[in-house]
């Protein structure tokens, strides 16, 4: 039997999805386009940001939107020393769970900081808007320390 060579081929798979937002996610993304952040009230009145369509505990359809602040507090963070190619920032940054002012449930987004030692649980952060907002989660380019 002949000895095979090792044959490699790099390739990229592309899935060019478009997605319908539905009314709840659409409302959130429309607000982002207008540089505002909205949440939704859960069955137990907790404010969820970004808004969910149904309450995960009761399965109740949710519809009561609430404006929340663009500032908030870091609940947890992870320091990315070496960003991956797909990451929204190509310099060291943090992923964080951020509880926005007026919200009860933290959201996950990225935080710009010069060094890991600058950031801490409980630190205050503020949304940094993209130059052009289009109605997409990356309209919030990142959060920055206040």
């Amino acid at each position: 039997m002949s000895q095979p060579e090792t044959l490699n081929q790099a390739f990229e798979l592309g899935y060019t999805y478009t997605r319908s937002t539905g009314p709840v996610i659409g409302r959130f993304l429309t607000a982002l386009k207008n540089r505002k952040i909205v949440g939704i009230k859960a069955s137990d009145s907790r404010v969820i940001v970004p808004p969910m369509e149904y309450d995960p505990d009761t399965a109740e359809e949710l519809s009561e939107f609430v404006d929340v602040g663009e500032q908030g507090e870091i609940v947890s963070f992870a320091w990315v020393k070496e960003p991956r190619e797909s990451h929204p920032m190509q310099v060291p940054f943090a992923w964080a769970m951020i509880k926005l002012d007026g919200a009860d449930v933290p959201m996950v987004h990225c935080v710009a900081a010069a060094a890991e030692s600058d950031i801490a649980t409980g630190a205050r952060v503020r949304a940094v808007w993209a130059d052009e907002t289009i109605g997409f989660i990356t309209d919030i380019r990142c959060f920055e320390l206040v």
Binding site: M1, S2, P4, E5, T6, L7, N8, Q9, A10, F11, E12, L13, G14, Y15, T16, Y17, T18, R19, S20, T21, G26, L29, T30, K33, E85, G135, F136
Partner: protein
């Protein structure tokens, strides 16, 4: 624009993922031989079926195929279709013929193009042979064979398609 038109109802959320594919042992052997202009199948140790391109197992018996078998570039049309609609990204102008071809010496068909033929005359059992690109262009690719074309040999009876030895119908 009214507020209503500004409502977001659809997003573009493309996903691109990068990979580095490594061919398995059996396909790598096949492609290495193909670069040398040789078509190679693998024989099942249990049922003797010859697979091309080989994937490393006999799908019927579920055992590894290891014995290599050199095949002819002559083949028999097992089935075919005439493609009349353009396929995005495909440089070939329709109409063209895509066929299931069983290489002499193998038992399983592979798919390739038929050309230098009258499309309407293509038929099951027809004898064809590979038209190779110049040797200087050979790569680890089935594109080394540009297409198959009809040859002047008698048709293979339907019941014998997929059973021919490497020497063909007469052999």
């Amino acid at each position: 624009m009214s507020d209503e038109q500004d409502e977001i109802t659809v997003i573009n959320a493309p996903v691109y993922l990068k990979y580095n594919f490594t061919a398995g042992k059996a396909p790598a052997r096949y492609l290495t031989q193909l670069k040398k202009g040789v078509l190679t199948g693998q024989r099942c140790p249990k049922c003797s079926a010859v697979y091309v391109p080989p994937r490393g197992s006999c799908a019927s018996c579920g055992v590894a195929t290891e014995e290599e078998v050199e095949l002819s570039d002559k083949a028999t049309v097992e089935s075919f279709t005439i493609v009349s609609i353009p396929i995005p990204g495909n440089p070939i102008e329709p109409p063209f013929v895509v066929a299931n071809l069983v290489l002499d010496g193998s038992n399983i068909s592979l798919i390739h193009l038929l050309s230098e033929c009258v499309n309407e005359d293509v038929h099951i059992g027809q004898r064809v042979q590979g038209v190779w690109n110049p040797e200087s262009e050979w790569d680890y690719s089935m594109n080394n064979i540009r297409y198959f074309k009809p040859i002047d040999e008698p048709d293979v009876p339907v019941e014998k398609i997929g059973t021919l030895p490497v020497t063909g119908l007469e052999g």
